[in-house]
Structures are given as structure tokens and as C-alpha cells.
């Protein structure tokens, strides 16, 4: 492929832990091939070279938590032909969306001595609440194989092959013994979006829902069963209100136990 024909890739960061963009650098086997296949035009974590937009594909990490960022994302959208959000922060507001359930001023005074200096919004919101998004890749953090799949799909003009069924499907394919059935360990796998490869059950713990809600999550039925296993309302509230606290079905379920 000639340099001129290469598509340009930009990676943007909003409020986040950097983990999702690091996933890109964690593709050790593919990184150089990727740098060949696309022109990395804007990726501050990896490069000080910055090429001006417009960009063919923008990956956006992080949520919107400041008035400035609410403006900046519009700018990013304008300069991107396709915009894909990556990770729980960008797709659902992330863990920092816990502020949405409290008074952000209380939060500020806990952390900062002089809150007046801090410019922040009362909520942490998904990118899609501010601009149209072409595709959302879930996970806290995203799975690097899925990230590569998204990139290769957009490079090859096809739809990413990212299933939205439950973690249980992956869990069974992997050959895990179900921790909920065999040990009574609470697990969010049945209502959680696949993608991680069911790693938590493979390590003898229940899924904690870091990939967010699956395509048709019956959280109410699962919550009822978890209660029979001994979970309190508080446990349920915490389970559904963590990494994807602001994602619709999880938010509603947590509110039912609040």
C-alpha cells in the first residue's frame, strides 16, 4: 500500500485510565504491521508527531466530565470520518460516572482542598451522549483482539464481528465450570456483554460486569436469583453500579436496590 493511500488513525483521550489506548500498544505482535497499514496521525500516548485532520478513523477513549471536553469531542467528531468509542468510560461514562449518583460538589471536597479550581461537570457521560458514534467497543478495558478486529474491519470496510451475547456463551466455549452453579459464587456473566473471553470465571471468581450489559439483559431475574444466593440489596446495588454504572439496564437495576 502506498503512503498516500493509507488511512489515517487518530486516538483521543478523555477522562479515563489510559488502559484502552494502552491495549493498542499491547498488540506487540501487530503494532508495527498496524503502523504500516495505517498512518498513525494522532496518538499522543505513543507519538509526539501530530498530523492535522481530518482522520479516517478516530478511536475515542474516556468520558465527558468537563465543559471543555464537551466542546473538544465535537471538534474530534468534525474531524473524523468514522468515530469508534472504546471502553467503558467512552461507551457508558466509566467508573467516574459514580458521581452521577451523588452530588459532585461533595465528591470534590473529598479530594481537593480548593474545589474552586476544579472545573468539572456534574455527570460523567458516554461520548454518544454528545456526538454520533459509528461503533462502540465495550470493556473495562477493551479486549485487544476485539480492538484489532475493529481496526481491521474498518480498514477492510466491513462490520466488526463483535458478538453482543452473554459472557456465559464464551464461558462455556472456554470450558469453564460455572462458578455460580458449582459454587454459588455470584456472577454477572449472564447479563454481561461478551468480549473478555470469560476470564473471571476462569480464575474462580464471578464476572463483575466490566463489559457492560449484553444485548437482552434480564437483570431483574438474575438479581432475584442472587438474592436467593444471599446477596443483600446493598451487594446488588454495588454489583450493578461500578464500571458500567450509567449503562441503562445496569443503572436501572442498581436503582431498584437503592
Amino acid at each position: 500500500m502506498t503512503a498516500a493511500a493509507r488511512k489515517t488513525l487518530a486516538v483521543w483521550k478523555f477522562a479515563s485510565c489510559d488502559g484502552c489506548q494502552l491495549s493498542l500498544l499491547d498488540c506487540e505482535d501487530e503494532l508495527l504491521a498496524l503502523a504500516d497499514a495505517v498512518e498513525i496521525a494522532h496518538f499522543l500516548e505513543a507519538s509526539s508527531g501530530v498530523v492535522a485532520g481530518p482522520y479516517d478513523l478516530s478511536l475515542v477513549e474516556g468520558s465527558i466530565t468537563t465543559p471543555e471536553d464537551a466542546e473538544r469531542i465535537k471538534e474530534v467528531r468534525r474531524s473524523s470520518r468514522r468515530l469508534v468509542t472504546i471502553g467503558a468510560c467512552a461507551t457508558a461514562g466509566g467508573i467516574q460516572a459514580l458521581r452521577n449518583f451523588a452530588d459532585v460538589r461533595d465528591f470534590m471536597s473529598v479530594v481537593y482542598a480548593t474545589p474552586a479550581y476544579v472545573s468539572t461537570l456534574a455527570t460523567s457521560t458516554a461520548i454518544s451522549a454528545h456526538v454520533p458514534v459509528d461503533y462502540e467497543l465495550h470493556g473495562c478495558p477493551v479486549n485487544k483482539h476485539q480492538l484489532l478486529e475493529v481496526l481491521s474491519a474498518y480498514l477492510n470496510d466491513r462490520r466488526p464481528e463483535i458478538p453482543s451475547y452473554s459472557v456465559c456463551v464464551e464461558c462455556k466455549r472456554r470450558g469453564n465450570v460455572c462458578v455460580m452453579v458449582a459454587r454459588g459464587t455470584p456472577c454477572l456473566g449472564p447479563v454481561t456483554h461478551a468480549g473478555c473471553g470469560a476470564i473471571c470465571p476462569a480464575y474462580d471468581r464471578g464476572c463483575y460486569g466490566c463489559f457492560g450489559p449484553m444485548e437482552s439483559p434480564n437483570t431483574r431475574s438474575l438479581a432475584g436469583w442472587l438474592q436467593e444466593l444471599g446477596a443483600s440489596d446493598r451487594d446488588l446495588l454495588r454489583s450493578f453500579r461500578t464500571y458500567n454504572a450509567a449503562a441503562g439496564p445496569f443503572r436501572e437495576e442498581s436503582e431498584a436496590h437503592g
Partner: protein
């Protein structure tokens, strides 16, 4: 210990695109020849193949060419998503994977000695064209041959020039569209409305129907109302399918597999299944 007796049915044969023709804004007809040379696979009208586009996916597409001309495979494809886009945007000379043919056929022979009515909606004309070719090949043995064809708008009609040729070859061609501008002379409305004026002898008519599922339900019911026996009405079903071999389980429609028991079904058999939502 048994040796592997069978070659994989999943492995496609490479076919080269030798001609691409744009039918409408989003629909192309592709002529394919085996990349390795030789004759293309033989098929019966109504059958389909699985078409593999490199890295994008594999989808069922009906054969839309003349079954009597074995040197080329013809498919008419409408862009619905990524795989069909990859198929339609392939340049001449590009290679696709083909396996098949699969499924049941339009029973053109059953119509011999009587009338044959073909009702098509939109892309549904593609799977019916081979039936029309087969009928024209035996035109003498048939009574009336009628084509009722409905499209969304005039510019969405397939095979425009051919419609005239069919007319000339003794087919009653009736075309209707959902909407059209002033320049459109023909009728406006759904295909079903054409049934009443088509003028065939219901007692000795065989009807073949293909189009969107709702259209087929109405059209089939229309034929029955017009006096055609439900066992002489045939339609071609669509379901998600990944293998076309009866093994992926996805194309089940109640007790039947669309890929093998169909896609062409007798209305009298399929009607009770069509009536059930989410079956």
C-alpha cells in the same frame, strides 16, 4: 477406523467475476466462471449458492441465470450489509468463493399443460428468473405465462430490457410500483392488486411467489382467493443461514430447514408456519 470419506462441504470453489452489470442503485448482476476453468455447477431454478467474499463473510444468494447455460453462474445481489457490499464492489476479474447449489427448486414442470403465474417483489425477481427461462424453453407446453412484478419505484426494477424481450416471447408482463413520478405509465400499488387482473385460469394454474415475507403472504393468499389451490402455490423463504447444509441450525422455521427443505415451499405446507410470529 473409518478414513475421512467426505471432502469438506464448507470449502468453496474459487469463481472469477467475468461481468458485472449494475441493475439499480444498489443491485448488481455478476457473471461468474470457475477460476480453474471448466463448466460451472449445474442447478435448477430456485436454488441458491453460498457466496464467500474474502474476509467479509459468506451469504446465500440465489442463482439468477439460465439453467440451460452451464458455462456461467449468474447472481443478482442487492447490497444489504458488509458481505453483499464486498460482493457487489468486487471488480471484474476478482474472485469469490462459491459452493452449492442448495435447496429445492421451482416446480416449473408441474405447470406444464396449464398456466404459470410468477409473482415477484423487488429483488425477489432474481430467484424467479431461472424459472422464467425454463418456462420459455418449454413455452409451447404451457398455457399462459404471466409475470407480475412489483418494485418500490421504476428505477428499482430489475432486468429492464429483458422485460420487453419476455413480452415478445409470449409472457404477459405486468409491472407495478409503490410510487413513481409522472413519467410512469404503469399501475401504482402492490403486486397483489395485479393478481385480479392477470387473467389466468385458476383451476390449472401454478403460481410461484418470491419477495419480502409480507408480500409473499399477501400474494399467496391472493392466489388462493382467486381460486388457485394452495398446493399449487409456491414461495421461496428467507432465513439467516450460515452453512446451507442443515447443520448450523439457524434457518429453522418450525419443523423445516429453509436451506434444504426449502427455500421453495408449497404454500399449503408453509402457511400455518408463516402465521406464527417469531417462529
Amino acid at each position: 477406523m473409518a478414513e475421512p470419506a467426505t471432502a469438506s462441504h464448507f470449502l468453496p470453489e474459487p469463481y472469477r467475476v467475468v461481468r458485472r452489470h449494475r441493475e439499480t442503485a444498489d443491485t448488481w448482476t455478476l457473471d461468474l466462471e470457475p477460476a480453474a476453468g471448466g463448466d460451472a455447477l449445474a442447478f435448477a431454478p430456485g436454488q441458491f449458492t453460498m457466496v464467500y467474499a474474502f474476509g467479509a463473510g459468506e451469504v446465500p444468494i440465489s442463482l439468477s441465470g439460465d439453467p440451460a447455460r452451464p458455462e456461467r453462474l449468474v447472481h443478482t445481489v442487492r447490497i444489504a450489509g458488509a458481505t453483499t457490499r464486498a460482493i457487489c464492489t468486487l471488480d471484474r476479474g476478482g474472485v469469490l468463493g462459491i459452493r452449492g447449489p442448495y435447496g429445492t427448486a421451482w416446480p416449473v414442470d408441474r405447470a406444464l399443460g396449464g398456466d404459470l403465474v410468477i409473482a415477484a417483489g423487488g429483488i425477489g425477481l432474481a430467484p424467479l428468473r431461472p424459472a422464467l427461462y425454463a418456462a420459455l424453453a418449454r413455452r409451447e407446453e404451457l398455457g399462459r405465462v404471466v409475470l407480475l412484478y412489483g418494485g418500490r419505484s421504476p428505477d428499482q426494477l430489475l432486468y429492464g430490457p429483458e422485460l420487453e424481450r419476455w413480452r415478445a416471447a409470449g409472457v404477459d408482463v405486468h409491472v407495478t410500483v409503490d410510487r413513481a413520478g409522472r413519467e410512469w405509465r404503469g399501475p401504482i400499488g402492490v403486486v397483489t392488486t395485479l393478481i385480479e387482473r392477470a387473467g389466468f385460469d385458476p383451476e390449472r394454474t401454478t403460481a410461484l411467489v418470491c419477495g419480502p415475507e409480507v408480500m409473499m403472504r399477501f400474494a399467496a393468499a391472493g392466489f388462493v382467493r382467486a381460486g388457485v389451490g394452495a398446493e399449487r402455490v409456491f414461495l421461496s423463504m428467507e432465513r439467516n443461514m450460515k452453512c446451507a447444509l442443515g447443520q448450523c441450525g439457524r434457518c429453522q422455521l418450525g419443523p423445516v430447514f429453509v436451506c434444504g427443505d426449502g427455500p421453495v415451499f408449497r404454500y399449503s405446507e408453509i402457511e400455518p408456519l408463516l402465521a406464527v410470529p417469531e417462529l
